[in-house]
Amino acid sequence: MATSTHSAAAASVARPSRSLLQDVMRRLFKDPVVVLCVLYLSVLIVVAINPSAFAPLSYETTSFPDKLAPPGAYATSEKLTGFRYLFGADRLGRDILSRLIYGTRVSMAVAFLGAGISFLIGVTYGLVAGYSRARIDNVMMRIVDIIYAYPTLILIILLQVFLTSLAQQPAESLNAFQTLLVTLDTRSGGLFFVFVAIGAVSWLNMARLTRGQTLHYRQQEFVQAAHLVGATDRRIMGRHLLPNIIGTCIVAETLAIPAYIYTEAFLSFIGLGVQPPMPSWGSMIADGYGALRSAPHVIFFPALALSLTMLAFNFLGDAIRDAMDPRLRNR
């Protein structure tokens, strides 16, 4: 939202009455769907911050006889007398609802941080490159090309294996920077390295997309006009180009969120992500694959949670895009 306060309407210079932010907000919340999406995402964030307040059981409470119990079934073990598995139980007899609630934490963190890192770095990089053109653009995009030509998965795995092997070395053999990395990782329960790995590769697409869009818009009359009236480069990028491309970028970024969530799940699956039994939506989906035909509910609920979250992000992205579109302001 910070960027939006700076961005004024594209070609029109004089527009004194309302601030853009107020304007955007007003139009954003006119739509009931948007209100619903914001509510849903807020609930997720609250749940992610303190899952133990909402989860009926711990994520590791195991009751083997209840394995793959269908939604609504009652627990059979004495300890859990009267307990009902609202969403059913997984292959080790753990409450899926509770695990879903705890899984929100990891998945939300990955989704927000992955998207945030990718968006910030990618959009800035792509905007500067696309606007500069010529030599700077060339150098910047060649750097992207090099990282790009490196298979993402290999890069992530190499990074992860390398970082986790650091964590296993005796503390005295590490230098200060390595120690910092390892500390951050243990403090975050193994999540930090996942962010590093995802962040390192995820901004590339965004940078290329932003550059492509910038290339397109900088040809347009309103940018040339701004040049003529003596606007600075920063002003042109921030006020004229960004508002035009940000919608496409937001939508593209939200579409990348499942990829981050699955990357985390994949990393967990090959032993490089969050250590079990701590759940994440991605790892719950991976777990549920085995029971796809015998107990589909195991995969259904985490997949549903993921879809709903994506949907919320996307409707919101669309709405923000529309609300910020300078050309639509008078309609």
């Binding site: 394995k67 080790l92 795995i157 250590q275 015998s294």
Partner: protein
């Protein structure tokens, strides 16, 4: 004009498509060395099987994994064979064999009617060549160690090439004549009969290897002496075998053609089976997942075609015996007795047999009924209390390390939950990528970097206890991963391998199993893996516990 540009773009896509199709056409094998149209001849009986992984090699001297050994078994004959139905050693290339009185000289008399598929006779020299090749350090055979009981094999194999040299003539194998081969062993070894069935020392065609090098097992070059011959290998897709008309017992082989499809995903394999596109499912895989087994058992059709039983493989928890608190035998006992083996097998794995000892049923010398330590929660609590941690009080957080895959993850979490439930101790799980796991739990890792507990497993190389307690746990002659100090159990394990009387051997092994896993608790075996196989009703076959299957004994009766 502008519109043309758009069409130009579309055309470019089309060109790409055509290009891809073109590159695909020559890459698709099939036409080049396809056999004489077996698909069209209605008579040819085809068996459609699946394997989870591509064979890594078809060279008997180099093979080490199940996926490679299965096709090798069909193409290359052993001195002896393990009968699929009875698990007994039976003659194959060797018609008979004798052992010297001191048990160190083994003489095998070969059949004289066995030919290679290029017409050459199979002779004792082929065996000598094969054993020498397997042992020579330049070959770098990962399985050379199973031949270490042959005189000088270990010394030759561990020569530090290229700086040091060795004398291959000193290896304890020689051809007395074309059809008699003699092995001289380092010391008496009753289990050598089992070893003689192994793929590592099966005769290989020296002339083909010298001519084609590594490519000798390619379909165009391969020379075999068994019931089937590889005719086509499409990487990542399938291997196709056809009946070898030159096999000496070709008349007894019913199935003309076998397709070994590479199907990585077990659920896809079952789906293909249900659709009737495979005749067998689950054969070339680790056991099917518990969820899938449950579904099969609930299905009236599938459950009738489902077969399960023990496979010669054991999964167990390793303890670092030199690292506190697991240097205390009471702690090890408590952790072993806290594992609810029945639940593990029934609810978590879905197949297999609960284990309290190391060697599974079907292995010579494995005590029956099982000895060792089983699930006993009250006793486990008592032991932990006796060790100074009543109800887990004051017990440090310890680590269980394993490698990541779906089953291991479930097992690790189940173990963690069981230890928490019974002993009230916190065990931290540490999943690692497989090679990292191997490197970080290797026998030479400093004890401070070792986890307190970690995942271990063992599958039989040959069906004899020597391959289990002695080769895995002997305090000096094995890798001794738990880092145990030598006790009477080690001496007895060694003695049992040298003894020639089967009954004496069995008695010794029973003692060793009880000592190692019931008293000292070097590790906690908790289940023997099982096979879970679906077979169409028209296919008659055996389900071996240990040996690779023999397709030549299978019958299709439609």
């Amino acid at each position: 004009m502008r519109r043309n540009h758009l069409w130009y773009g579309l055309a470019l896509l089309l060109v790409l498509l055509v290009l891809a199709a073109c590159t695909a056409a020559p890459a698709a094998p099939g036409e080049a060395n396809a056999p004489a149209a077996p698909a069209t001849s209605g008579e040819a009986l085809t068996l459609r099987l699946a394997t989870v992984s591509e064979p890594s090699t078809l060279d008997p001297n180099l093979a080490e994994d199940y996926y490679s050994i299965t096709p090798i078994e069909q193409m290359f004959l052993g001195l002896t064979n393990i009968n699929n139905a009875t698990s007994e050693i039976e003659p194959e290339l060797a018609e008979s064999w004798t052992v010297s009185d001191d048990g160190t000289v083994w003489t095998f008399n070969l059949r004289q009617d066995v030919k290679w598929s290029d017409g050459n006779p199979v002779t004792a020299n082929d065996i000598v060549y094969s054993v020498r090749r397997a042992v020579m350090p330049e070959t770098a055979s990962p399985y050379a160690y199973v031949l270490y009981s042959i005189k000088n094999a270990a010394a030759i194999n561990q020569t530090e090439i290229p700086t040091a040299t060795y004398d291959i003539e000193s290896l304890g194998v020689k051809a007395l004549d074309d059809y008699t081969v003699e092995f001289t062993l380092e010391s008496p070894a009753a289990y050598f009969e089992s070893i003689s069935s192994m793929w590592t020392l099966r005769p290989v065609p020296s002339w083909a290897i010298e001519q084609f090098g590594d490519a000798w097992t390619d379909p165009a070059n391969i020379v075999v002496n068994g019931p089937y011959k590889l005719v086509e290998w499409r990487p990542g897709e399938k291997l196709i075998f056809e009946k070898n008309p030159d096999y000496f017992a070709a008349d007894n082989v019913q199935i003309d053609r076998v397709e070994l499809n590479i199907i990585t995903d077990q659920f896809t394999e079952v789906a293909l089976y249900e659709k009737g596109e495979l005749d067998v499912a689950g054969e070339g895989a680790a056991s099917l997942p518990a969820e899938e087994v449950a579904r099969i058992l609930a299905d009236p059709v599938l459950s009738a075609e489902f077969h399960q039983g023990p496979r010669a493989s054991t999964t167990y928890v390793g303890f670092t015996m030199t690292k506190p608190p697991f240097d205390n035998v009471l702690v090890r006992k408590a952790f072993s007795a806290a594992i609810d083996r029945e639940t593990m097998v029934r609810d978590v794995v879905g197949s297999g047999v609960p284990a309290t000892q190391f060697a599974p049923p079907g292995i010579f010398g494995a005590p029956d009924p099982e000895v060792g330590l089983g699930y006993d929660p009250e006793q486990a609590k008592a032991w932990l209390a006796e060790a100074g941690y009543p109800d887990g009080a004051g017990f440090p957080t310890v680590t269980y390390r394993y490698f990541s895959n779906s089953l291991e993850e479930a097992l690790a979490q189940a173990l963690q939950a069981m230890w928490k439930e019974t002993l009230n101790v916190d065990v931290q799980l540490e999943a690692q990528e497989f090679p990292v796991f191997l490197a970080s739990t290797a026998p030479d890792v400093p004890v401070e970097e070792m986890p307190e507990m970690w995942r271990l497993g063992w599958g039989a190389d040959y069906p004899d206890e020597n391959n289990w307690v002695y080769e895995v746990f002997h305090c000096t002659d094995s890798q001794n991963r738990p880092r145990a100090a030598c006790t009477e159990a080690d001496a007895k394990a060694k003695q049992a391998g040298i003894e020639t009387d089967p009954e004496v051997r069995k008695a010794l092994y029973a003692e060793v199993e009880q000592l190692m896993f019931g008293e000292e608790v070097r590790v906690a075996p908790y289940y023997h893996r099982g096979y879970t196989i679906l077979t169409k009703p028209y296919l008659q076959r055996a389900y071996p516990t240990f040996a690779p299957v023999n397709w030549d004994t299978w019958r299709i009766e439609k």
